[in-house]
């Protein structure tokens, strides 16, 4: 699946990440290879401390690997300047976080527009796309509501709208249901898995959520333990 002629949307090649701590080096990721094809939906699942959040930060070029290569749309990012990497994020990547990270003093449209502020799109175009995206996530009626006027699930929908409004190649979601109740979380996963024409990588510690995705990458102690399709995952059981 990863050996197609089309370049993967994002790819890790031999990526390791080591943090220097007071009591010596702490290796969080060890020699990880991972390729996410365009349009592919995958879950990265593992217990806390397994290195999955670090993997997402590195996939999103928010953090640099200690060794190995990160490619976005087939382009290596290691040699890029801060500006170039920022441009890659603004155009090709979208982020969804557990804590939503919405600006509390801005309404839903403004929050979604913020996701496109650094893309070079004009004001009017940003607004049009923001309204579009909010409509797609089912918040077309709540454009001028502030985060404090929205429920947790609605806030996460705003965040998803922000992540997709600029039509990125990949949406990276870090525990997107972590702050939500189960029913709301399910709806959010439905929304993410329902996104077409965009690769979606969801990080979770919850196998039930991971099972919803066509591909499951299980990691433990910084290594990829298993890389399964939906059928294989069910057969492998829920022992993580």
């Amino acid at each position: 699946m990863t050996h197609t002629a089309v370049a993967p949307a994002v790819e890790l090649r031999g990526v390791s990440k080591t943090y220097a701590t007071g009591s010596g080096d702490l290796t969080v990721l060890r020699d990880v290879d991972l390729a996410i094809a365009p349009g592919e939906h995958a879950a990265i699942v593992g217990p806390s401390g397994s290195g999955k959040s670090t993997m997402l930060s590195i996939l999103g070029t928010l953090d640099a690997p200690s060794a190995g290569e990160v490619l976005v749309g087939g382009r290596p990012t290691a040699a890029m300047s801060d500006g170039e990497r920022s441009d890659v994020r603004s155009r090709s990547l979208g982020f969804v976080f557990q804590q939503f990270h919405l600006l509390s003093h801005a309404d839903a449209v403004a929050n979604v527009e913020l996701g496109m502020l650094y893309t070079g799109l004009g004001r009017a175009e940003r607004r049009r796309r923001a309204v579009d995206a909010l409509t797609r996530v089912g918040l077309g009626e709540r454009l001028d509501h502030r985060p404090t006027q929205l429920s947790g699930g609605e806030q996460q929908r705003v965040a998803i709208a922000r992540a997709i409004a600029h039509e990125p190649a990949v949406v990276l979601a870090d525990e997107p249901t972590g702050a939500l109740d189960q029913a709301t979380g399910t709806a959010i996963i439905d929304l993410l898995d329902g996104l077409a024409d965009v690769a979606v990588v969801v990080i979770t510690h919850d196998l039930v959520i991971a099972d919803r995705f066509a591909r499951q990458v299980r990691i433990r102690d910084g290594r990829i333990e298993a890389d399964l399709t939906a059928g294989e995952a069910t057969a492998a059981g829920s022992e993580v």
């Binding site: 930060s57 999103g60 928010l62 953090d63 801060d82 500006g83 920022s86 441009d87 994020r89 603004s90 155009r91 990547l93 982020f95 976080f97 804590q99 990270h101 600006l103 003093h105 801005a106 913020l114 996701g115 496109m116 502020l117 650094y118 893309t119 070079g120 004001r123 922000r162 870090d174």
Partner: protein, 391 residues
């Protein structure tokens, strides 16, 4: 490609101060006080000077004062007795009169008052021409005439008359150990305020008792616009033998003296303004450092959606610049208001310094931006990963 438009940059930078209004206002306070001080002080000193100039103008700027100067050996050189008459012969001179101070001469209500209770009154011998030359007006009684100038008579200044309790002419006062008859009381004089607390005596009479009493100064009135011309020839005319030992001054030098006083006051106030600006800058640094700490999540989010480190830095420096701008504008308006209120209170035309207000606003923006450098650099250096984990 990912460059922000000017409008987007400004709107983004304005978001921070606008979302925390009271804190922003408080952090503007220091700069506002600094700029208000600057604008107010410059305006008030300018108002004072304008008023002084206007006063002198009203009194007539065509007055010169000739006084004894010093010889080459730094000894005082008295003016020749002929000087007043010589000066009167200069074409544009409309009046000139000698004044001689009787140093140590007491002025008392009567001979029973102890000599230590002089009340600071002085006695001066004047020529009768003085009244016409200096626009002296009588409150009561009469000025010296050819007869009374040769007799023990006196014209009292307004305050001196008050002090002595003499309200009407015809009474006697005890001056320089003899009785003098009061023949008149002066109105307060703008040109010669020192006469207010003096008893004026006729020169001819005084010189009979003190034949060696030297001329203290000669008051000269000239036609308008001839001050400079007359000034150039006054020393030669007053003392042809030693022109360099003659001092000539104009009351406008009073204005210069006033300006010197003002400029001392001004430097002090400008120093204060500078200190206030510095404190204001520190206030902005504090506010911005706290804002950066509080908004780590927002900064990280901006980085995640593609903001470059440089754009984050620009945003926070501009935010600080906005705080400076707000403080500067508030301070400039306040300062100008103070000048207007001061002018109204002093019943004169206020001279607000708009240039200083403009420069002050520019200066505050600069102070703000400079104060924003350190917090902005910190914001740009924040790790997005850590920022996203906060909250």
């Amino acid at each position: 490609m990912a460059r922000l438009t000017v409008r987007d940059t400004l709107t983004t930078a304005a978001l921070g101060p606008r979302s925390r209004v009271s804190r922003s206002l408080l952090s503007m306070l220091g700069v506002a006080i600094g700029i208000a001080t600057l604008v107010a002080i410059l305006g008030i000193t300018a108002t004072n000077e304008a008023r002084l100039r206007a006063d002198l103008e009203a009194l007539g700027s065509n007055v010169l004062v000739v006084a004894p100067g010093q010889g080459p050996n730094l000894e005082p050189v008295p003016l020749p007795e002929t000087a007043p008459e010589m000066i009167r012969r200069i074409g544009p001179v409309t009046g000139a009169a000698a004044v001689r101070e009787l140093e140590g001469a007491g002025v008392f209500r009567n001979d029973l008052v102890p000599s230590t209770m002089g009340g600071g009154l002085t006695a001066v011998a004047v020529q009768p021409e003085l009244a016409a030359a200096m626009d002296l007006h009588l409150h009561r009684g009469a000025w010296f005439d050819a007869a009374s100038v040769t007799l023990p008579t006196t014209v009292l200044g307004a305050s001196a008359a008050d002090h002595l309790g003499v309200s009407v002419p015809g009474q006697r006062v005890w001056i320089d150990d003899s009785w003098y008859a009061v023949i008149g009381v002066l109105q307060p004089s703008g040109l010669m305020p020192d006469l207010d607390r003096a008893a004026l005596l006729g020169e001819d009479w005084v010189l009979t008792g003190h034949p060696d009493l030297a001329i203290s100064r000669i008051q000269v009135r000239v036609q308008t616009g001839t001050v400079e011309a007359v000034r150039d020839v006054l020393d030669d005319t007053a003392n042809p033998g030693m022109p360099r030992a003659v001092g000539v001054s104009t009351p406008s030098q009073l204005a210069d003296a006033q300006r010197a006083v003002d400029s001392t006051f001004q430097s002090l106030a400008l120093g204060l303004a500078a200190v206030a600006l510095l404190v204001g800058a520190i206030g902005i640094v504090n506010t911005m450092v706290i804002a950066v700490l509080e908004r780590r999540g927002e900064i990280a989010l901006r980085r995640a959606v593609g903001a470059r480190a440089l754009q984050i830095r620009t945003q926070f420096m501009l935010e600080a610049g906005f705080l400076g701008l707000g403080g500067g504008v508030a301070g400039a308006v306040l300062g100008l208001l103070v000048v207007v209120v001061y002018g109204t209170w002093q019943k004169t035309i206020p001279a607000p310094n708009f240039l200083a207000a403009g420069v002050g606003v520019g200066l505050s923006v600069l102070v703000g931006v400079i104060a924003g450098v350190y917090p902005a650099v910190r914001a740009a250096q924040l790790s997005p990963v850590e920022g996203l984990r906060s909250e």
